[in-house]
């Protein structure tokens, strides 16, 4: 198989992993030698027609696998053609793409061949060759295998910026059914190992006097859960996510809506979950991490352990907690402003800055490009008071979800919000 055919196959097989981040690592640059730089912020070098960011060359070393995870196109019993990159091919491809500014670096994963140790050794060889022989300073993310020996995990972290182990499914029972060879306790054990090594390296760096201490995955670890391949509800997914953030200090939990694959197994649902479900989970995850919400609070916006698909989780929460509103834009503390639907953290900080200099009006928010239609019912400002009864009206939800921007059609509705 020629290089191009391999690339097509092994990129195709890697696309079900949602992670593509290239951010949050140490700063490096090539002025003292080497090739590449990382400046903290990730860069999306392209976007595919699925709207996803392309930041890294995301491929598998091989799509051959001895495991048989039902949701995976590479499982042992799937009939896809198999291929394998050589270490030299992967190194060459990464460098060629990097030099042309197509990518931030490499995200390398693999099916399990021979043994977990053997497989991860191959991944390590690619990363080590890039770093040692080619002075590569770009971003490297290695998918690790929980069953691999601790020394190998340690070496992976020396070359990689980020390591990840996918938990895939939030419930032990579904993992047993769909990924019989995977072992949740082993995954937890490996995450624990990574987490303590990451913390150690960070501490060593903080207290280092002279020579740089050995590095270990400076961009931390992440994981992925598949959404919609089993019957787990949003409560168990978000709960698992919260547990992982807490226990292992993960940088990110990715949610990947189960996507139909060619050669699908009969154990899987025939149709994918709505793409919106994944989106709502990301929004909820964000609110948990940066907006001071608790898991149960967010879930209280939906019904029966599922988030509301139709509206974003903050709005859903607000509509079920209307007594909290309206919030006085000139008096409310930061935590409360953060709970106003349509107000993002950055604009909350701008409002707080503006408050130091005078009273903030609704007209000022328009200049910050805040969606007025959405925030207005929940805010009190010197130039604005929502229509009496609006906040308690059963019609509020319908008004807020009506499609905006339909020109004349939408306008009368909008006006009724600003009497």
């Amino acid at each position: 198989m020629d290089l191009r055919a391999k690339l097509a196959l092994l990129a195709d097989a890697a696309k079900y992993d949602a992670s593509c981040a290239s951010s949050g690592t140490e700063k490096r640059d090539s002025r003292a030698g080497g090739l590449g730089s990382t400046e903290g912020m990730g860069i999306c070098h392209a976007y595919a027609p699925d709207g996803r960011c392309i930041s890294l060359l995301k491929v598998l070393l091989t799509n051959a696998c001895v495991f048989d995870c039902a949701y995976c196109i590479n499982r042992a019993t799937s009939n896809v053609p198999r291929a394998r990159f050589t270490v030299a091919e992967l190194v060459k491809l990464t460098l060629a793409f990097y030099r042309r500014n197509y990518i931030e670096g490499l995200f390398l994963s693999s099916g399990i061949i021979r043994s977990p140790d053997y497989t991860i050794e191959q991944l390590i060889r690619v990363a080590r060759t890039l770093r040692e022989e080619h002075g590569f300073l770009g971003y490297i993310h290695l998918k690790t295998i929980p069953e691999a020996a601790p020394e190998l995990l340690a070496e992976a972290g020396r070359w990689a910026d980020r390591l990840s182990i996918n938990v895939e499914l939030p419930q032990v029972a579904s993992l047993k059914r769909l990924a019989p060879e995977k072992d949740l306790p082993a995954i937890g054990g490996a995450m624990q190992q990574l987490s303590s090594r990451i913390a150690e390296a960070r501490e060593a760096k903080r207290t280092a006097r002279r020579a740089a201490p050995p590095r270990f995955a400076p961009a931390g670890q992440s994981t992925q859960m598949i959404v919609g391949a089993d019957d787990s509800d949003d409560r168990s997914i978000l709960g698992k996510g919260a547990e992982l953030y807490e226990k292992y200090g993960l940088r990110r939990v990715y949610y990947s809506g189960y996507s139909p694959i060619p050669e699908a197994s009969s154990l899987l649902p025939p149709a994918p979950p709505p793409l919106l479900r994944e989106h709502r989970l990301y929004q909820a995850d964000w609110l948990l991490r940066f907006y001071g919400f608790g898991t149960e609070e967010i879930l209280s916006g939906g019904e029966g352990g599922m988030l509301d698909l139709e509206i974003d989780p903050k709005l859903a929460w607000a509509l079920k907690h209307r007594a909290v509103f309206p919030v006085d834009i000139n008096a409310a503390p930061r935590e409360l402003l953060l709970r106003v639907p349509g107000l993002g953290a950055r604009n909350v900080d701008r409002i707080l800055a503006a408050r130091q200099e005078g009273r903030v009006r609704l007209a000022d928010l328009a200049r910050l490009r805040v969606p007025l239609r959405k925030v207005a019912p929940f805010l009190l400002a010197p130039d604005h008071r929502a229509a009496p009864g609006l906040l308690d009206s059963p019609r509020l939800r319908a008004m807020l979800t009506a499609p905006a921007g339909l020109g004349a059609q939408a306008r009368p509705r909008q006006l009724s919000l600003f009497p």
């Binding site: 191009r4 195709d12 027609p49 699925d50 699908a264």
Partner: protein, 301 residues
């Protein structure tokens, strides 16, 4: 420059705008227009030095025309402003950062906007900390636009490698919206110090020879190489990493607007990927689920 104002903070209402600041101290014969010619289109240091002088001489924004060598010649050129020395200006750090970005904006009013903010800030120092004030909001929008343009340059610039007498050289053609080539060249030095490269744009070109940066005047698209051997592999990657079951072209276009496509080698396969997506998904959803291990004849759909 002064646009429709919202109500200023009540306590400042009596002291803003108006004559008390406007050149009263300088004792000059009114109305005169000065021309400030900056040495380059995005020279922050030169702008700052000029603004300091203007404030020291109490010359109001309405009396200044800002010009750079890149602007079309004006109908009228006034005298340069008189030299004056004033105390250094204390302004918030955030404002300086925004101003540094905003001077790279293509908007010809950028220098005058900044001047008018500094002018009014003398009577109302809080102005520069009020992101909701209309001119501050405009400044914020300009800074954001420049930052976004820089991100897009970091992201969407593509090098093509050519052989030259001195060895390989990487050459890119890029069309920034704002005057960012000088400011962003450093990013490419930090990343590609080991290569020799040129970034060609319509207004300025940057060249790195492995040791030093040089800037030259603008170039044309045809001056850059037309292809590169790696692009075929890159398109293959782009096509393969795309998941047809999740077609979201609007999300793609929001982040990678069409105006960039003509300089992105991968963009040429987008239409065909979008056209083929539906059929590929139908084939996957319509297929018989596989009992483990049994092979279905390929191409049976």
């Amino acid at each position: 420059m002064t646009r429709g104002q919202p109500g200023p903070p009540e306590d400042a209402a009596g002291t803003r705008e108006g004559g008390e600041a406007g050149g009263a101290g300088a004792g000059r014969a009114a109305p005169e227009t000065f021309t400030v010619l900056l040495p380059s289109y995005a020279d922050f240091a030169a702008w700052r030095a000029a603004a300091r002088k203007l404030l020291a001489a109490a010359i109001p924004p309405e009396a200044v025309e800002w010009r750079t060598p890149e602007d079309p010649p004006g109908l009228f050129t006034g005298p340069p402003p008189p030299d004056a020395v004033g105390p250094p200006l204390a302004v918030p750090r955030d404002f300086v950062e925004m101003a540094e970005l905003a001077v790279r904006h293509a908007d010809r009013e950028r220098f005058a906007l900044l001047h008018s903010l500094l002018w009014d800030a003398r009577a109302r120092p809080g102005l520069l900390r009020t992101p909701t004030e209309p001119r501050m909001a405009r400044l914020g929008a300009m800074a954001r636009a420049v930052r976004r343009d820089a991100h897009k340059m970091h992201a969407f610039l593509r090098f093509r490698e050519i052989d030259t007498a001195e060895g390989p050289r990487s050459v890119a053609w890029f069309e920034p919206e704002h005057h960012i080539v000088e400011a962003e060249a450093g990013f490419f030095v930090r990343r590609f110090a080991i290569l020799r490269w040129s970034i060609l744009t319509p207004r300025r070109c940057a060249h790195w020879d492995g040791a030093a940066l040089a800037f030259t005047l603008g170039a044309r698209r045809a001056d850059a190489p037309a292809e590169d051997a790696a692009e075929d592999l890159w398109r293959t990657y782009f096509a393969s990493i795309f998941n047809p079951a999740r077609l979201k072209p609007d999300a793609m276009r929001a982040e990678m607007p069409k105006k960039y496509w003509r300089n992105l080698p991968e963009a040429e396969v987008i239409p065909e990927l979008m056209k083929g997506a539906e059929g590929r998904v139908r084939a996957m959803l319509g297929q018989q689920p596989k009992a483990p291990g049994r092979r279905q004849k390929p191409g049976a759909k």
